[in-house]
């Protein structure tokens, strides 16, 4: 299967990335090469083979449900680009500058 520019634009939207038109065509070409390489996997018979998402035998890592001291709020705000009154400040959600409901 070859990937086309429309699909690349759709994926970019999902990934919250934007590209210039010439970048879209470059991306389409490079992604298409990579996907063709990936499609060599079709040669492998995987009938009944389980999927590996984690290499160790660990199942779940639980801890006791005990309250622990959290991180200081002022510390957490240190890397926030813009803030006001201890909150993170962002632009309006709506285009016309009005705050959303």
């Amino acid at each position: 299967m070859a990937i086309n520019e429309e699909q690349v634009k759709h994926v970019a939207k999902l990934a919250k990335l934007s590209f210039k038109e010439e970048e879209i065509s470059q991306f389409t070409e490079k992604l298409d090469q990579i996907i063709q390489m990936v499609e060599t996997l079709e040669q492998v018979d995987t009938t009944g083979v389980p999927i590996t998402t984690h290499v160790l035998d660990t199942v779940n890592a639980f801890r006791e449900d005990q309250a622990e001291e959290g991180t200081d709020r002022d510390q957490l705000m240190k890397n926030v680009p813009t803030s006001q009154d201890g909150f993170i400040k962002v632009p309006a959600i709506m285009d016309n500058g009005e705050a959303g409901a």
Partner: protein, 484 residues
């Protein structure tokens, strides 16, 4: 002979006998960095003031024989978060990011009284094999400044190879410690998945990433792994297994060790000098009393395809946290909230990172999951089973660390596929979770180093070190130094 030419044990003895101080070693380290940094370019950030203060405190406290690492400088890859010290992952996205906590490995480094001297260059978010995708700078190979140092831990490797530091930490998702170690003629180990806590390692592909040490000698490498290993409640995937003394088996004796050489690892496509050096290494191992036989990892040829689906899928999910809201780069060029997300990400990430996010998002998107992500996960199972089968009869697997020696700067940057294929010998090891090392085993006609890879059973780094150390004792490749 310069202080920095000595190994860890030699420096430790001088520190204990008070012939030198930690301040002396730390000063010598920064002098060497100043002398070579313009040529090599290993560091993104230096932390001299803090390092000198630590050294003074450690001298005041005194260094005893029970801690070989005390008072000695180490370099840190810039995707490991350091409290109060800028951590960028070599991305514009984190250009001004100052973490408010330390990674678990950093806590362990401080506990061991080691001295972090600064943050090392890398491919952006560890995505790349040449350190060329860094937003900030290109790192050069100390053996030939026209060549790449490998990647993504290229700064970590170049800093050790050029004698700036004795040891550094890198991270390895598909070969990012072993391949740069191979390209720069040093020792680099990727531990078993789960051996070292990933808490505070900026995530690329969470089921593959591991932090590990880069050093000039095998014994030094084992000392560093001793210090950074162990279960950590803050990393749900860290393993609750005991940590042995990784130097315990460094006797030089490997009689009776059984080593398998996958025929797929010596197939076509290797640079002839790489193949020759590995064949010679096999002879050395036979002379040392090991049994070396041909084995097969039949699914390893699919490793690169599996890796690019799994690593990119995990990356697309991990990197969704970079939204311009809570930390990191925020675009000024916005009229609404959606713009903040899209423009911050589009301006903050470089091309290779976007390429992987796009590939991963595609592989996970509706209608394609079964064909790509699920299929890759199934073939990953077969790759893992290949290793398990060989390890039923063998102690170690041996092969080259990379199919070629270091290539020219700019040579592969425009062609991601050829760059990706350079990782063909290291990737399967991450997919299966096993530990692997690269050690120096020769030089090509241009004088560029060649790396030998040894792969071990899960949590059996000790046997890797045993065999690597025996080879090092029997050869002189690790004693060669680049002319800088």
């Amino acid at each position: 002979m310069s202080l920095l030419e000595k190994d860890l044990s030699e420096l430790h003895n001088l520190l204990v006998s008070k012939e030198i101080t930690s301040v002396d070693v730390t000063k010598a380290t920064f002098d060497r960095i100043r002398e070579t940094e313009e040529q090599v370019g290993s560091f993104i950030t230096l932390d001299e003031e803090h390092a000198m203060e630590l050294a003074k405190n450690i001298d005041a406290k005194g260094i005893t024989t029970d801690n070989v690492l005390a008072g000695l400088p180490i370099g840190i890859k810039d995707n490991i978060v350091t409290n109060g010290l800028k951590t960028t992952a070599a991305s514009r996205m984190l250009e001004n990011f100052v973490p408010i906590y330390d990674a678990t490995v950093m806590e362990k480094i401080y506990q061991a009284d080691m001295i972090p001297v600064g943050k090392l260059n890398m491919d952006e978010f560890a995505m790349g094999g040449s350190t060329e995708t860094s937003y900030f700078k290109k790192t050069k190979n100390p053996w030939n400044l026209e060549k790449v140092p490998g990647g993504s831990s290229g700064g970590s490797a170049a800093a050790v190879a050029s004698g700036q530091v004795l040891m550094s930490l890198g991270s390895d998702t598909g070969g990012s410690i072993r391949q740069p170690a191979s390209f720069t003629g040093i020792v680099g180990l990727k531990p078993t998945y789960g051996r070292v806590s990933r808490y505070g390692l900026i995530a690329f592909a969470s089921s593959l990433d591991q932090i590990g040490p880069l050093t000039r000698t095998v014994r030094d490498n084992a000392y560093v792994l001793n210090a950074i290993s162990g279960y950590d409640a803050k990393d749900g995937t860290s393993a609750g297994v005991s940590v042995p003394d990784f130097t315990a088996k460094l006797t030089g004796d490997i009689k009776g060790l059984k080593i398998g050489v996958p025929k797929e690892y010596l197939a076509d496509g290797l640079q002839p000098e790489v193949k020759e050096a590995v064949l010679k290494a096999i002879e050395t191992y036979k002379e040392l009393g090991a049994t070396v036989e041909e084995v097969s990892l039949p699914h390893s040829q699919y490793g690169v395809a599996v890796y690019y689906i799994i690593a990119s899928s995990e990356a697309s999910s991990n990197l969704s946290r970079f939204d311009g809201i809570r930390y990191g780069y925020r675009s000024e060029n916005v009229t609404n909230l959606e713009d903040v997300y899209i423009n911050s990400r589009s301006e903050g990430f470089g091309m290779e990172v976007k390429r992987r996010i796009m590939l991963g998002t595609f592989a996970l998107s509706s209608g394609y999951y079964d064909a790509y992500f699920k299929k890759a996960g199934q073939v990953r199972t077969l790759i893992k089973q290949d290793f398990e089968k060989v390890f039923e009869s063998y102690d170690l697997i041996l092969g080259p660390a990379a199919p070629t020696t270091a290539y020219g700067i700019g040579e592969k940057l425009d062609n991601p596929l050829t760059m990706y294929l350079n990782d063909i010998l290291t990737i399967p090891v991450n997919l299966a979770g096993n530990p692997g090392i690269s050690i120096p085993c020769g030089f090509d006609q241009e004088g560029l180093p060649i790396g030998l890879q040894l792969i071990g059973k899960h949590f059996d780094e000790a046997t890797i070190y045993q065999a690597a150390d025996a080879f090092e004792q029997a050869t002189t490749f690790h004693q060669e130094r680049p002319n800088l």
